[in-house]
């Protein structure tokens, strides 16, 4: 899961925006101009900027200026398109999708002028396995042959399943078929790192660049300054432009102050932008100001906000179905800040994801269908239930808890809302020893493919395998479903695979184990002189690759 912070503070930023459309506003701003300094104001430092450790959307978006991945998403079109980045194309699968080969572009240079080679990529990926390089996504260690025993390159060992037959070719040997492996490789985990410039666990502040900008300075929690990388060449990069002279990333300003500053568009705010979404509490003013409409990028993230029902504790499916009908998504969305937060969800796959199929098994009215819910409860024998709901300890979440409590109260279910410390929310609720019956959850796919959603959230085998990090919060544990997931990931035909994922989504929804609430949007403001910001539906961030400052 890609998150706003390591522990997914997405929900903490209650977002409400009436601007539903993806590419609203004036974020492109006409013809690119050279020069100027872009300022990015962040409420906090990045968790990590080391490509192999990045797992937040802000860092992922920022690193695109510094580190190129094998493949990447071109977001300038109407839908994101996968293209080769360091690689010449999107890779070639063989051996039933278990072997992936990428050919590198020639002439891609590091910031010292040396060439980026397949060895650098191999070394970069090997770093993921070191316990010192923690925090990034788990795919490399899950899928590469021999990954379960390999512990990184620092003790002189290398991983044989990463082969570099020549400086411009890299071959990945996987322990299972992964049909969308080339979508994974768009994540910075697969970026190159030159061994000579690796500083290990302090690489966060010493990222060696092969992108259009390089790190001039980076002080944790304060500021990172990016300047032009003179060895970057547009001819080797199909995605990026090198327009602004400098990018200053300033960290640690209060989010309301950031919103206020950008809203004012005063002085340096004209050339500034934000990466964290507009805070919920400031949205009414933002909405009330039509002038701001042109200074907002609203990205539809492949994210779903939902409530999981613990099926081992709420065993009667009729009760779970009653909950599906009883929940009032209108009041729930109100708690999160209103319509701008996103559209009402009826499926677990979001509209931007490959495999999404539109269907609605429960109430056609987002406000719920109490009559139907009561009827289902009657069929279940009107049990007197008291359920506990876990939420983060933020005001927004407590409002959400109240919305659920009021809705379920009407069908005779008493809900105890339990706020859990936001910093440790997921480590608490993903521990199988947790005591809750209902859970607030959200999920943003790592890349827009159903394989990053359904198996992660509904593969019941992880309950035993990862007892402290079980993401199957509804404890759906159906061998038939699991077998389907396994076979789906091996289906070579994309169209058929996507169709099958859509059906799988529907099958899961039939179990009434989760209540999808909203497909999430992320609105961000920028100053009137910032141009070239494309909404990035992969990350839910304004894409920085073509940013410029208007003269």
């Amino acid at each position: 899961m890609m998150s706003r912070t390591r522990t997914a503070a997405i929900a903490a930023t209650a977002i409400a925006l009436v601007l539903g459309a993806t590419a609203c506003g004036d974020s492109l701003g006409g013809k690119p101009v050279k020069g100027g300094t872009l300022t990015i104001v962040e409420k906090a430092d990045f968790d990590h900027l080391d490509p192999q450790r990045i797992y937040t959307t802000e860092a992922d978006s920022a690193i695109e200026l510094l580190a190129r991945s094998l493949t990447n998403w071109d977001v300038t079109g109407s839908t994101p398109k996968l293209v080769g980045d360091l690689a010449t194309d999107t890779g070639t699968p063989s051996d039933n999708d278990q072997v992936w080969t990428f050919h590198l572009r020639h002439g891609v240079k590091w910031q010292d002028g040396s060439e980026v080679t397949s060895q650098d990529i191999k070394y970069g990926v090997e770093r993921v396995f070191s316990p010192d390089i923690s925090g990034g996504p788990p795919y490399a260690s899950q899928w590469l042959v021999g990954g379960s025993t390999y512990t990184g390159p620092y003790k002189g060992k290398s991983l044989d399943s990463l082969q570099t037959p020549d400086p411009y070719t890299i071959v990945f040997h996987l322990n299972q078929p992964v049909a969308d492996f080339n979508e994974t490789t768009a994540m910075p985990t697969w970026a190159a790192v030159p061994k000579a410039h690796d500083t290990g666990s302090t690489y966060d502040t010493h990222v060696w660049s092969d992108g259009p900008y390089k790190l001039q300075s980076y002080t944790h929690n304060k500021e990172a300054v990016l300047v032009k990388n003179p060895y970057w060449n547009a001819s080797t990069d199909p995605l990026r432009e090198q327009n602004v002279n400098e990018v200053d990333i300033k960290m640690g300003m209060n989010e309301s102050a950031i919103d206020q500053l950008l809203e004012s568009d005063a002085g340096s705010a004209k050339t500034s932008m934000q990466q964290w979404p507009i805070a919920g509490s400031n949205l009414s003013t933002v909405l009330g100001n039509p002038a701001l409409k042109h200074r907002i990028v609203s990205s539809k993230a492949p994210g779903i906000l939902y409530m999981a029902i613990n099926t081992t504790r709420v065993k009667d499916i009729r009760v779970r179905q009653a909950i599906e009908y009883a929940i009032n998504k209108e009041t729930v969305r109100g708690a999160f800040g209103g319509s701008g937060y996103g559209d009402y969800a009826t499926t677990m796959l979001t509209p931007g994801i490959g495999g999404y199929k539109h269907f609605n098994l429960y109430s056609s009215n987002p406000a719920g269908d109490l009559a139907k819910a009561k009827q289902l409860m009657a069929q279940a024998g009107n049990p007197k239930l008291t359920l506990s709901l876990s939420v983060e300890n933020t005001p927004t979440h407590e409002h959400f808890g109240d919305a659920v409590k009021n809705a379920l109260n009407q069908i005779g279910i008493t809900v105890n809302v339990t706020p859990v410390d936001a910093g440790s929310y997921f480590s608490t609720v993903w521990n199988v020893k947790n005591q809750y019956d209902l859970y607030w959850e959200d999920w943003i796919a790592d890349w827009p493919n159903a394989s990053t959603v359904l198996p992660v959230l509904f593969d019941g085998r992880q309950i035993a395998k990862l007892p402290q990090a079980n993401q199957d919060a509804s404890y759906v544990n159906d061998p038939a479903l699991e077998a389907q997931m396994d076979s789906l990931s091996k289906m070579p035909d994309l169209g058929a695979r996507n169709a099958a994922y859509g059906n799988l989504d529907e099958e899961i929804m039939r179990k009434a184990a989760v209540v999808p609430l909203m497909y999430m949007n992320f609105p961000e403001m920028f100053g009137s002189k910032v141009g070239g910001l494309y909404p990035d539906a992969i990350l839910g961030e304004p894409n920085l690759m073509k940013v410029f400052i208007k003269s």
Binding site: M1, S3, R6, T7, A8, A44, D45, D47, Y55, R127, S130, P131, D132, I133, S134, G135, G136, P137, P138, S148, T151, Y154, K155, D198, G200, S201, T202, D204, T205, T219, H220, N221, K222, K250, M251, G252, M253, N254, S256, A257, Q260, L261, E263, S264, A266, G267, S268, A269, D421, G423, S424, F426, S427, T428, W430, L466, P467, Q468, A469, Q471
Partner: protein, 330 residues
Amino acid sequence: MFRYLMRRLLAAAVILVVISAITFVTFFALPTDPALLACGKTCSPSRLAEIRHALGLDKSLATQYWEFFKGLFVDRTYGDQSITVHCNAPCLGVSFQSDTPVLTILLGDFPVDLSLGTGAAVIFLVVGVGLGMVAATHKGKAADKVAVSASLVGVSLQIYFVGLLLMWAFVDKWQILPAPSYTPLTQDPVGWFQGLLLPWATLVVIYLAFYTRLSRSSMLETLGEDYIRTARAKGLPMRRVILKHTLRAAITPIITIFGMDLASLIGGTAVITESVFGLNGIGKQAVDAVTNSDLPVTMGTTLFAAAAIVVFNIIVDMAYGIVDPRVRLA
């Protein structure tokens, strides 16, 4: 005097050791596991164990504390995998989050709080005592009533609100000042001043009220003392009676509270102000460290704040001695 100081410093060191031990134990009583956080959302038990080892969390609590303590006197080296991090004594540990020595982090943040806290404190002390003096000498009259009711308003205001309001007015609306930020004094004194003006103003608005009320009541109490009557009976002008005789005595109770306020400001309590204005000081560092289960930084910031309080306690006692000869010579 020297022996007294030595004794106080020794006691201070003991207090800090106790606080560090308590922080250590409390940290491990928290439900969050730093290794689990570092491991990410999809974390296998074997990887978790590796990370736990890398962070040194697999050792016993006592061993970990002993190593921390030893690091104060002996250099430590972290990491046995990637390039190692060297931490020179006195070593307060290395951040789990950024692999930077904690002392380096603290020294980097310290100037922010020092500038923020000292600047604001000087203003609210001088202005607060001044207003309190005016109010006390005009007790019951218009000036007193204005000062007292202004205090009430100030006391009920929130830093968050004041900060954003000031920023909206001066930075966003009128554009008189640049967006607050911290520039080192040595690098650009004007920038330092401009960048800190609003944060100071915010803290002053919040603290001023308290100091006005405190000094008003302290002044009133002192004005009732026999030696003030003596001073007037000598034929001294009222100005001199107030500024010399009354102020000197009235300031003593204020010194204690001021010392503690300044210590906690420098120690990082101005976290809301830091956060509103994007000044990254020790307060914000501390909050982030707790959120991220970054034990070494949590320890470092806690100890720093405690040290600030302890040191200022000693300074306050010595200042007392300077102001009040009875304490000095007793």
